[in-house]
Structure formats: structure tokens, C-alpha cells
Symmetry: C2
């Protein structure tokens, strides 16, 4: 492998040390409680160096997960725009990513979460609690409903991924994105914005 110019072996070792410390810290404490300061301490470097290499905690996390995309940018973008088509935009985004060259890596992270407790926890805390729930909160009225609506949206998005890319159930596995958006979009929309009195009467 050709080493990129300007990156010395020492830097690569530092990056690796930081990533290892971050992986251990996220696994032990979860996304919320892990801190750049503590990760830097574990790696034996200055926190400024962690910021220099990775930027924010979010980006450090994405590097640890080998994430091919940044859902923290993509999901809020998809949910912006006319509220009544947010469900369709969300599933179009998901299919678009998974059908793209980055999809193989996204599938690897997802499969890992399905068989590995700490990846599952981090996917839940990061993608669902941090990003998706915040984006859902922007478009719904009653914020008390945000956690359940977010979880329900996650069932339909994760289920589409499992059926199409993991179990490869036809004709869904070969369907084009317009067909899937027409089929699944309105169901995500119900989870996002339609009244569900029987679901929320207890809350």
C-alpha cells in the first residue's frame, strides 16, 4: 500500500491509538458518556490532537464504526422540506445509500449491530437517539411522542433493509426505488405524523 505523503508513521500510530481508545470508551460507556477528554487520556495524547485528527465526537465515532456516510448530515436533510412527504424522502435516502458503493460498508455496520451487543447499543444511541429522534422532533408537534415515533420509523427502515439486502426477499430485493418509496413511504409517514390515539393514550 502506498502511504499518502505528509502522513508519517508516527501520525498513523497516534491515529490508531486514538481509534482504539475511542472504540473501548464507546463500548464501555456508550456514545453519550464517552468524552474526547477521557479518550485522549486513555490514548496518552492531548485532547487537541483528537480534535485535530477527527474533528467532533460524532466524526470520531463514525471513524470508529468505519461508517461510509454521515447520517448526522443526511437524515436531517431528508426530513427537511414538505412535512407530508418526509416518510418517502427518508426511505429514498436509505435506499439511495444502500444501493450506492457505500452500501456494502453500511451493510457491514448494520450486520455487525445485529450480532454484536456493543455495535447494537451504539447504533441505537447514535443513529436512533441522537440523529433520527432529533430530526423527527423537528417535524412533529408533540415532543412527548418523539421517542415512540422514532422507534416506529426505525422498525420500517430497518425492516426494509433486512428484507431487501439481507434476506433478499423478492420482488422487493429487485424493486426500483420509486416502487419502494410508493410502498413504504406512506407507512413511515403514518409513524411520523398521523395521529395514533391508541398508541399514545398511555403516555
Amino acid at each position: 500500500m502506498v502511504r499518502r505523503s505528509g502522513r508519517r508513521p508516527g501520525n498513523q500510530d497516534t491515529r490508531t491509538s486514538i481509534l482504539e481508545a475511542a472504540r473501548a470508551s464507546f463500548a464501555e460507556k456508550g456514545y453519550d458518556k464517552a468524552s474526547i477528554r477521557a479518550i485522549a487520556g486513555d490514548a496518552g495524547v492531548d485532547p487537541a490532537l483528537v480534535h485535530h485528527y477527527f474533528g467532533t465526537k460524532e466524526k470520531l465515532f463514525l471513524a470508529v464504526m468505519n461508517a461510509p456516510i454521515n447520517p448526522g448530515e443526511l437524515i436531517p436533510q431528508a426530513l427537511e422540506g414538505p412535512r407530508e412527504h418526509a416518510g418517502e424522502r427518508l426511505i429514498r435516502l436509505a435506499i439511495g445509500v444502500w444501493d450506492s458503493p457505500a452500501g456494502t460498508a453500511a451493510l457491514a455496520v448494520f450486520r455487525s449491530a445485529l450480532s454484536n451487543e456493543w455495535t447494537a447499543r451504539l447504533l441505537r444511541e447514535f443513529v436512533v437517539t441522537q440523529i433520527l429522534r432529533r430530526a423527527v422532533g423537528e417535524i412533529i408537534e408533540d415532543q412527548a411522542e418523539a421517542p415512540m415515533r422514532t422507534a416506529l420509523v426505525a422498525t420500517q427502515v430497518a425492516g426494509t433493509m433486512v428484507a431487501r439486502y439481507v434476506l433478499k426477499i423478492e420482488p422487493l430485493a429487485s424493486a426500483d426505488v420509486d416502487t419502494i418509496a410508493a410502498a413504504v413511504g406512506p407507512n413511515i409517514q403514518r409513524f411520523l405524523t398521523e395521529p395514533m390515539p391508541e398508541v399514545f393514550k398511555q403516555s
Copy 2:
């Protein structure tokens, strides 16, 4: 472990040989093309002995998969009855099984399908194509729509399982079955019986 009376070691060996031959045959040929006759041949026993120990091919398959339940009996039962509540009955059945003592074993089969190509193929061929699609066919009008409607139902059922039991997304993970049925049932119902002209115009 105490051996049950009436089951001699020799019988146990024969059972094991049949299960091993069946596992290999299902993995190589898929559910449809595997035959009791060929499996018996591979195990070096008479086909009648396979029937004696395991009954039908379906039951042999369930034994190979260590399936804790028989979806071939449960799913058609759930879809019988008033057509307009079939979606709710289906998700109640799924949650009921997964919350029961058999749920741990069901989760193990499901996790295996998520990380293992042949388990995925068999889950797809057996549960989806053989059982769920046939049951869906019973309650829908246009049989040409059965494969896609079945795949869509599978997205919502599998997604609920992933979100509740694997990713453990709250408040869904702790919700009672009535809440989940009220939330998810109508979405499965749409996939089962509501017109979806934009999905089926191409077919």
C-alpha cells in the same frame, strides 16, 4: 443429562445422521429442491425412517433449524378470521412468540439468518415463500400482488423484531403488545389489503 427412556443410543445416532444429511441438503439445494429420499440416501437410511423420526419435510426442516415453533401452523391461524384485522393479528402472533420462552430460540434462528447466507436463504424460502406468501394469498384478491405484499409484510414484521429485540430501541422495546399492535397493525394491514396503485402499476 438423563436420557429419556425408550430412546436408545443407536436411535440417537440415526437421528443425528439424518439431521446432518438434511442440514447439508437444505444448505446445498434450498428448501424446495431438497427431498426426503435424497436426504435418507445421504444418511444411509430408509426414507421411511426419516418419516418415522421427523414426519414431513417441513418438520424435518424445523428440526434442522432448531425452530422452537412451527410457523406453518401459527401464521395461517393468525391470518384467518376477519380480513380487516389480519395485520394486527399477525403482529400480535409475532410478539407473542418472541416474548414467550420460545422467543430466545426464535431470536437465535433470526440472528443466524442475518449473518449467514444459507440460513437467510432458508428463512426466505421457508417462512416467507412457503408459509407467509400462501397465507397472504388466502386473504388478498389479486394473486399477482401476493409476492410483493408478502415481502412488504415481512419488512414490517422483521423490522419490529430487529428494533425491539436486537437493537432494543425504547420505548418500543418495553412496550406492551396492545401498544405495538395499535402502532404496527394498521401498517401491516395496508401492506396486506389496501390498494397500492403506484406499487402495482408496473406488474
